[in-house]
Symmetry: C2
Subunit: 416 residues, 2 copies
């Protein structure tokens, strides 16, 4: 694509966003449901495109091939995802606050779409459907730039989304897919396409996110990393501690809310630590402990300083003995990524201290860190988890894809 084509992409998105921000819920939902139907009706074309992508991508690792791969079940899940998003309440036009001023001015803060969102993602082709649908529901035009290895699959899915837009009479440019595998396309998007892009959301590994944060000249809503902790306090209930530790670490090791480090009060290393580590080892988890942990649980490997900073995303856990809650908090502040941390305790004061002291996007008491998820929060689908401080922290659902504006109604007021 040349410069003019990129500029046109931006202009078309901007024009579509002006239509979308005033589109009512019924029309947006109609497009989403029609797109879901089109995905089912075109399942064989989508699978055929995916087979070509897989054929061309022989050099990928097994894990990456699995991410790229679609089958009947995954295509069905994509269509179901669109239906679920259609069922969500309209995030646009909500009255977030309203108040009157002494001079009679009536001020309302109203949710409104952000405008044009650029999404840069890697190999999972289903992001095409999820991200397209979440942006549409929130009234935003979106420019999607998927991984080059999944371009054929994404194009087939995108064609189904466009059918949905057409069925509802919405502009086709509401959801655009950059039709090139040229890496320069990402650079153009990060520069903002001449002011056409309001927000960039990267979805992918650390190196993609780092490139986006380095190069972007427009705001970025990014997920960096989830070094999540479970702290087993001296007053923890043993059964809860065992269940939460194993679930937080092992339910799915590859998600950002998976625990990477377990901190255990030194006083209960034998009573609680050993059974927890036995459970984890039985579940297939490699354990890396400090000296105290290895003394109590000799089969643990030695943890190094690096282990405390590692996002394993794998069946490995680092375990450290701590001297009480403030030592645990200090460890989390030093090594954590302010994503999600849990405390297990029956002591309310200790729990509230932990919940207040940590500045992580999500802090939990007696619950698994794997609840760090938009669906589990009741937000419906999510486009990811924000680890920055601005605009939205934690799960980013359709509400978080909106911004607000002020509507002020007067009767002729002028400012003294």
């Amino acid at each position: 694509m040349n410069d003019d084509e990129f500029a046109q992409l931006g202009k078309d998105a901007r024009a579509a966003s002006k239509v979308l921000r005033q589109t009512d819920r019924a029309t947006k939902d109609k497009a989403l449901l029609a797109a879901a139907k089109a995905i089912c009706a075109n399942a064989s074309a989508i699978l055929a495109a995916n087979a070509e992508d897989l054929k061309a991508a022989r050099d990928l690792t097994a894990a990456l091939r699995d991410r790229l791969m679609l089958d009947d079940k995954r295509v069905e899940a994509m269509a179901k995802g669109l239906e679920d998003i259609a069922a969500l309440p309209d995030p646009v036009g909500r009255e977030l606050a309203r108040w009157q001023r002494p001079n009679g001015l009536d001020i309302a803060r109203i949710s409104t779409p952000i405008g044009v969102i650029g999404i840069v993602y890697e190999s999972r082709p289903n992001v095409t459907a999820d991200a397209g649908a979440l942006c549409l529901k929130s009234g935003n035009a979106v420019i999607l730039r998927g991984g080059s290895e999944s371009l054929r699959s994404s194009a087939a899915i995108h064609a189904a989304l466009v059918k949905g837009l057409r069925a509802a009479g919405l502009p086709e440019a509401s959801i655009q897919l950059v039709p090139t595998t040229d890496r320069a396309a990402v650079g153009e998007m990060l520069k903002g396409l001449d002011g056409a892009i309001d927000l960039i959301i990267p979805r992918g590994g650390k190196s993609l996110v780092a490139r986006v944060q380095e190069e972007a000249r427009v705001p970025v809503l990014a997920h960096l990393e989830g070094i999540c902790h479970v702290y087993i306090h001296a007053k923890a209930d043993l059964a809860k501690a065992r269940a939460i530790a194993v679930n937080a670490k092992m339910r799915r090791t590859g998600v950002c809310g998976a625990a990477e480090t377990i901190l255990i009060d030194r006083a209960i290393l034998k009573s609680h630590g050993v059974p927890i580590l036995e459970d984890l080892a039985k579940a297939g988890c490699e354990i890396r402990g400090d000296d105290a942990v290895r003394a109590a649980f000799p089969s643990a490997k030695a943890a190094t300083e690096e282990d405390w900073r590692m996002e394993y995303l794998d069946a490995i856990v680092s375990v450290r003995a701590v001297d009480g809650i403030d030592d645990a908090i200090r460890h989390i502040e030093t090594y954590g990524s302010q994503h999600t941390e849990a405390i297990v305790t029956e002591d309310t004061r200790a729990a509230e201290h932990f919940l207040a002291a940590l500045d992580s996007a999500i802090v939990l008491w007696n619950a698994s860190t794997q609840f760090a998820d938009g669906g589990e929060f009741g937000m419906g689908a999510e486009i990811g988890i924000g680890t920055g401080k601005l605009h939205a922290r934690g799960p980013v659902g359709v509400e978080q894809l909106t911004t607000f504006r002020y509507v002020v109604r007067g009767t002729g007021q002028i400012r003294p």
Copy 2:
């Protein structure tokens, strides 16, 4: 300053921010009130420092000298500003939302400070006090980098703020002033001081803001420009239209909420347009009109295409005749900066159409655009007006200087 000194600045701010985010309201207010007293007690030192700044700044224009200049009244106003900020409710720890999940999880969204804010500003030394106080009240540590021409004044004001911090037992690094006029200091801040800065807020002219947006590697909350419009609809009440047009343009021409363009329905160009333009001319405003406006009001100069894009910040107004509300909306979308726009009309349907159609941070019906101000919105003081789409639009007060986190309370839940 060398690299190590910059890094230390960031580390000290980060350490202070950890204390501040858990500091209660009474302690923050104590620091603010003590700082207000210290400003009054040290007024002569502040004025002496300001006199030195003024002496060294002979090359400045009269307008810039006026911005730089402090007198007894301005020093008093600064102290009063700190007291007003102390009187605001605590923006930290508010429960923004709370809900229960079917599995029993209790989820609360709680406001929390952003962390460390970097503020880069130009010649007004009072920003040192305002910005320092707003950040303190919102529980953020702040690194201030004022204009080099006002460094002595800012240092004297900063000394008073530090006295306030000390009186309340808060870390002195809660409010730091970069003690150098080296332009490289701004560059270091924009790079984020090794991850220590969470947000940069530039306060100043277009060239400063442009530099910040180009160079910043951390999120920016910026005010770009306010090309604000007043649209006089065919059904406008003449008295309201005259009062609002003159107030919006002429109350203070240098503020961002000042109107720059007036749009008038062609049908009422004689009945409404002429008296409005007569009022403006009488108030000392230069009028630049399109052909229709000049035909009705011959003393108007000719407006060029550039005039529609100009933020005069001066006693000049561009005036255009439009063919109804959709033509007015089209003009504003084409030339506006999405800051603040007003419609004057007695027709409710027309007003609601205008309020819904425009994606500006603030839209008003029958009220002056000069209400675009945190104080007028009832937010207390403001650090500026955000013209971006993310995090906060419109007036940025203490609430907008917070972010949020999720506090989740469970009873042993694990994720299926």
